[in-house]
């Protein structure tokens, strides 16, 4: 047998495909609204271009294309003058609606001096822009739901994280259906997993139990039992996760946001944030500290994802087993944001439900956890024996 004669017909080849050249239609969160209200213009590289974000005199956030239509100056390097943004190149002034309002050295502003103004949404402390390659406004039913806790004294403020990821943003979308990676990459233990895609919303329901092999409980602290998560992407990039951590004796309620905006076809900015509900067990400061701890914990989770994404290939034809979630149906849903509205088909938006049979994964993972716990106990026992002479 030689390599030359080996048949390759049964070899499964990866189809890598190419990342789409257009960017998704939808509301995209750019971060905490407050972070743009420091009296300076902000530069945001997104959707293959540059935007400028600033607050006018009323504190309202405005977004324009970043490059001045006069000679291409970078408005985000300019200054805020009154309600307008002034270009650093020739001081042309642009209002939040996109009109050139004043050219101090000119007798009059040329006709049709208008640049692109982006539709914005400032809600629950978060700032969004609407992106649509066709230039249409958002339909009435395409909204970002309110997050009641965000404006309530009974909840903490947002803890917020931002990081850049050098890959196409579809990788993070795939996570919606990827139950098994939660065990292998994030060391959690899913016991129930269900996806629902409908309209522009993609939902993941996941119940998990604590992993004693990876996260031993802190001595003297309440034991973590598990978590219940109900997470929905509202559109292509903004996920709200009602996430409850269950402890012996009480639960901790939190809202986790996971959102991103594309910088280019192979780069996106990933952001996530959390608020935690205060309770008798979690008064003000303790609740905020808890949110930070959960946030840091979730940050480690995303770092684990990023490490995988950095090294993996794009794959159009994943080879799936029955215990993988509905990757192809998810991508069919995701496709609706990359085609013109007229080309959105019922297959992309019709309701689809997938409830995972977790019996086999749970059985396999139980064994693995037990083996890890036993190995750790053996290591600890050995360390005790080895250390024994030194104690005397």
């Amino acid at each position: 047998m030689s390599l030359e004669t080996t048949g390759t017909s049964d070899i499964r080849e990866i189809v890598t495909g190419t990342a789409p050249t257009r960017f998704a239609r939808g509301w995209h969160c750019l971060g905490l609204a407050e972070s743009f209200r420091d009296g300076k213009p902000h530069s945001v590289e997104a959707f293959g271009t540059k935007l400028v974000v600033w607050a006018d005199t009323a504190g309202e956030l405005q977004v324009l294309d970043g490059y001045c239509r006069h000679m291409g100056g970078d408005l985000s390097q300019g200054t805020i003058k009154g309600d307008d943004i002034a270009c650093p190149f020739h001081d042309w002034r642009w209002g939040g609606k996109g009109k050139c309002t004043n050219i101090p050295y000119a007798r009059r502003v040329p006709p049709l001096a208008k640049t692109r103004a982006w539709r914005t949404l400032d809600q629950d402390g978060l700032f969004f822009v609407w992106h649509d390659p066709e230039g249409n406004p958002p339909p009435a039913d395409v909204t970002i739901p309110r997050i009641e806790g965000a404006t309530s004294d009974e909840w903490t403020d947002w803890v917020w994280y931002t990081t850049e990821v050098d890959t196409n943003c579809r990788e993070i979308i795939d996570n919606i259906v990827d139950m098994a990676h939660f065990f292998y990459v994030h060391y959690s233990f899913p016991t129930f997993f269900k996806n629902i895609f409908e309209g522009h919303v993609a939902t993941q329901v996941m119940h998990g139990k604590a992993r004693d092999d990876m996260r031993p409980n802190t001595e003297g602290q309440p034991k973590m039992l598990g978590s219940r998560s109900e997470a929905s992407y509202f559109g292509p990039s903004f996920m709200i996760d009602d996430l409850k951590y269950e402890y012996e004796g009480y639960d901790i309620e939190s809202v986790l946001l996971n959102c991103h905006y594309p910088v280019s076809a192979d780069k996106f900015v990933l952001m996530y944030g959390m608020i935690v509900k205060k309770s008798p067990q979690l008064p003000d400061d303790v609740a905020l500290e808890t949110a930070r701890k959960f946030g840091d914990f979730i940050a480690r989770g995303f770092e684990q994802d990023i490490e995988i994404w950095k090294n993996k290939t794009r794959i159009e034809n994943p080879l799936l087993c029955e215990e993988d979630g509905p990757v192809y149906q998810l991508r069919r849903w995701y496709e609706q944001f990359y085609v013109d509205v007229a080309d959105v088909t019922p297959e992309m938006t019709d309701r689809f439900e997938f409830e995972m049979d977790t019996t086999r994964p749970v059985a396999a993972w139980m064994k693995e956890v037990e083996a890890n716990v036993a190995a750790r106990a053996a290591r600890a026992a050995k360390a005790d024996t080895d250390a024994a002479p030194a104690v005397q």
Binding site: D141, T143, P145, R146, T191, K194, I196, E198, G199, V201, T203, V205, E230, S232, F234, I240, D242, E322, P326, P346, D350, R351, F352, E353, F354, E355, M356, D357, T358, T359, R360, V362, A363, A364, M366, K367
Partner: protein, 85 residues
């Protein structure tokens, strides 16, 4: 996937069951508009715009159809190995 009609509202959906525990349901607009539990518009769930997670009538109907053999359960063997306590 196999067609199944809900006994509650007569919505016809497509169902696939890889095992007793796994269930996949594909709806279309006509079926969706018939369902009493899921709400008229997409998104009468816990948040405005979020879906109702399941229709209990259909869920019961799928389980019944599976036990009666009207819907194939592709792997109906019992699962070996330890069972979660």
């Amino acid at each position: 996937m196999q067609p199944l009609r809900c006994s509650e509202c007569q919505a016809q959906v497509l169902v696939r069951k890889n095992s007793w525990e796994h269930t996949e349901v594909q709806w279309n607009a006509q079926a969706r508009s018939r369902c009493h539990e899921l709400g008229n518009a997409a998104g009468s769930g816990r948040r405005p715009g979020a879906p109702v997670l399941t229709c209990s009538a259909l869920e019961a109907g799928v389980a019944r159809a599976a036990t009666e053999g009207l819907i194939d359960v592709l792997d109906d063997a019992p699962i070996p190995g330890p069972i979660l306590q």
